[in-house]
């Protein structure tokens, strides 16, 4: 089965006055049809940037997609110019996105209705009337009461959770193949988080859409994701089925991440939550060897001598980029 979307060796760099930031440095991953994927990593590890790069939403300057391919429908999306019509025809219609900040992601001076209908008018050639009807339908679907009257409301009249629901409605409105949710629940409270995730799952099931959930919180993806990619400082360090990652984590970073997720029904005595020591590395002047090395408590001599470890298959669909795992393959 060929994947729906396949990213190959993506590199996105930012030129800052301090130096070159390799935010995404050779990332490859696949998204299959009707699949829910989790992309996990600490803030600043490049997960958002890699998603934005798929749709070429990186502002240049300072950002630049240096190399890589994004294969979708037999086409390399990176061959299109960022502002080209071909790229616009993909955005929103085939691949849609939800962003982290519901408070600032909607245009404050346009009504909710206007912001919902415009993509319908563009991508599905709907007339203003049909678009409006469809918008009301969508608002109902995402659970906004009194949808008819809310079309004329402005974003500031909605709560953060409501705005994020509207963002979901906008993203799903043109029935895209892939929905990318970039930390969709970070800025809302815990109860709203769960509701939003349920809503998203419900929506992608209903529309047969693939979903990518980008998050720094393994707990968020645990219930929904079928496959998981773990990113660290611009690279993927481990990937596999959700079960592989949760039950049999191999990369010390993933192991560390799991240790700081509290589990239900667990008491304090049974297991201590252990934070990962240190902070993610500065992405400027990165060391050429494994970026996790300074924080790793299982490092070997080879980790200091060699360049970045490659991503290697360790069984099934499970890949790990760690010398320790590669050398001590079972």
């Amino acid at each position: 089965m060929t994947p729906l979307l396949s990213v190959e060796n993506l590199k996105t760099y930012f030129r800052t006055y301090r130096g070159l930031v390799k935010a995404v440095d050779g990332v490859s991953f696949d998204i299959n049809e009707k699949e829910i994927i989790g992309l996990v990593g600490e803030s600043g590890c490049g997960k958002s940037v890699s998603m934005l790069s798929i749709l070429q939403l990186i502002s240049n300057p300072p950002g630049e997609i240096v190399s890589g391919r994004v294969m979708f429908d037999g086409q390399d999306l990176l061959q299109y110019k960022s502002k080209s019509d071909a790229m616009s025809a993909i955005r929103g219609a085939k691949i849609a996105m939800i962003f982290q900040e519901p408070m600032t992601s909607l245009n404050p001076v346009l009504t909710i209705g206007r912001q919902l209908t415009e993509s319908l008018e563009i991508h599905l050639n709907m007339t203003p009337q049909t678009a409006q009807e469809r918008a009301i339908e969508l608002l109902r679907m995402i659970g906004i009461p009194d949808a008819h009257n809310r079309l004329d409301a402005y974003p500031h009249q909605f709560s953060g959770g409501m705005r994020q629901r509207v963002m979901i409605a906008i993203a799903i409105s043109c029935n895209p193949k892939i929905l990318i949710a970039d930390e969709p629940t970070t800025a809302v409270d815990v109860t709203t988080q769960a509701q939003l995730l349920e809503l998203m799952q419900d929506m992608v099931n209903r529309f047969d859409t693939s979903l990518v959930i980008v998050t720094h919180n393994l707990g968020v993806v645990a219930r929904y994701a079928e496959r998981i990619y773990v990113m660290y400082s611009g690279r993927i360090v481990e990937s596999g089925l959700a079960d592989d990652i949760f039950l049999n984590p191999r990369h010390p970073y993933t192991i560390g991440l799991l240790k700081c997720v509290p589990q239900l029904g667990e008491t304090r005595q049974e297991r201590k939550l252990v934070p990962i020591k240190g902070l993610p590395p500065n992405l400027i002047n990165m060391p050429t060897n494994c970026a996790f090395l300074p924080r790793c408590d299982r490092a070997r001599d080879i980790c200091r001598q060699q360049l970045w470890p490659p991503l290697e298959l360790v069984g099934g669909q499970h890949y790990v980029a760690c010398f320790r795992e590669i050398m001590e393959k079972p």
Partner: protein, 318 residues
């Protein structure tokens, strides 16, 4: 929205009150006898103490200050601005004769600066980093530094003295002879509009650049909108919000500029009137001009603030 308008209007009333008090006090702060406001220096010297006292009573100068203020305001409502000691006519007549000229030039300069300044700013922001942006931004940076009166002189030198294309100075009503009138106002209007155009260009550009970086613009791109629609629907309206706030300042600036420009081009508007009145110590005229200009600035600020609600729904619904 209604409560917002009411709040703004009441603030405007308070500001106009403070303006009138300031202008009123200005006259009272004049050195020497307050009668200087109403009389020529020569007249004053010829009068006896008794006659002076009678005149004080006549002008209400023996009353306490607040009462004098009330009298003055009451007179203003009836259109009574007193007599010009220099021209020996009603200040009101002087104003009705001179004000339209200034308003005509000022309104033209205002519209031109709004249209050009905002368009230039938008173009620069969209073409950021290209030679168009570099050139227009540099011109705008130079435009805000040139003294308008000096530009006027240079224009006269180049276009009138050297090239002989435009008449040197003077003003003719557009109703009298539209073509001649237009030829005469090209240079003064250019000078009046120069600074506002340049500063609006800079402001619009930076405001546009700021809006372009906002999350909701990224959302718009992610929805697959074309650049044209993103600019026209999503960017400009947001970018104009901070631009609109300075429109009131522009109005004040254009009036201030008319003081200089009307002198350079020998135009009999209220700007030149103010200068002459200061030189002639014709204080009631100075007072009237200042008051009228300040009130017009307050009113235009009021209109701006209210139209704000139209641009920004966050204000409309609060």
């Amino acid at each position: 929205m209604t409560s917002y308008i009411i709040r703004r209007l009441s603030m405007g009333v308070v500001v106009i009150f403070i303006v009138t008090v300031m202008v009123f006090l200005f006259i009272r702060l004049l050195p020497g006898d307050p009668l200087t406001i109403y009389l020529n220096k020569t007249d004053m010297q010829q009068l006896t103490e008794e006659q002076l006292f009678e005149l004080r009573v006549k002008f209400g100068l023996e009353k306490p200050l607040p009462m004098q203020y009330v009298d003055w305001i009451g007179g203003l409502f009836k259109g009574d601005m007193g007599q010009s000691v220099y021209y020996n006519i009603d200040v009101r007549l002087l104003m009705t004769e001179r004000l339209p000229v200034t308003l005509y030039l000022g309104a033209l300069a205002f519209v031109i600066s709004g249209v050009l300044g905002i368009s230039f700013g938008v173009i620069c922001a969209l073409k950021r980093g290209t030679w168009v942006d570099t050139l227009v931004t540099l011109l705008a940076n130079i435009g805000i530094t040139m003294p308008s009166f000096w530009v006027g002189i240079i224009l006269i030198y180049l276009l009138s003295v050297k090239a002989g294309w435009l008449p040197v100075s003077g003003f003719i009503s557009p109703f009298e002879n539209f073509w001649e009138s237009t030829r005469r106002i090209i240079m003064p209007v250019t000078c009046l509009a120069l600074f506002p155009v340049a500063s609006l260009t800079r402001l619009t550009r930076s405001s546009m650049l700021e809006v372009i970086q906002q999350d909701y613009i990224r959302t718009a791109w992610s929805k697959g909108l074309k650049e044209r629609l993103i600019v026209s629907r999503h960017t400009i309206k947001n970018a104009l919000i901070p631009v609109i706030t300075v429109v009131g300042l522009q109005v004040a600036f254009i009036f201030g500029g008319s003081v200089l420009i009307e002198s350079v081009f020998n135009i009999n508007g209220i700007g030149r009137l103010a200068t002459q009145a200061v030189q002639n110590q014709d204080y009631l005229v100075v007072q009237a001009v200042t008051l009228v200009i300040a009130i017009m600035v307050v009113l235009s600020n009021l209109i701006v603030d209210i139209s704000y609600g139209w641009l920004d729904p966050r204000i409309r619904y609060d």
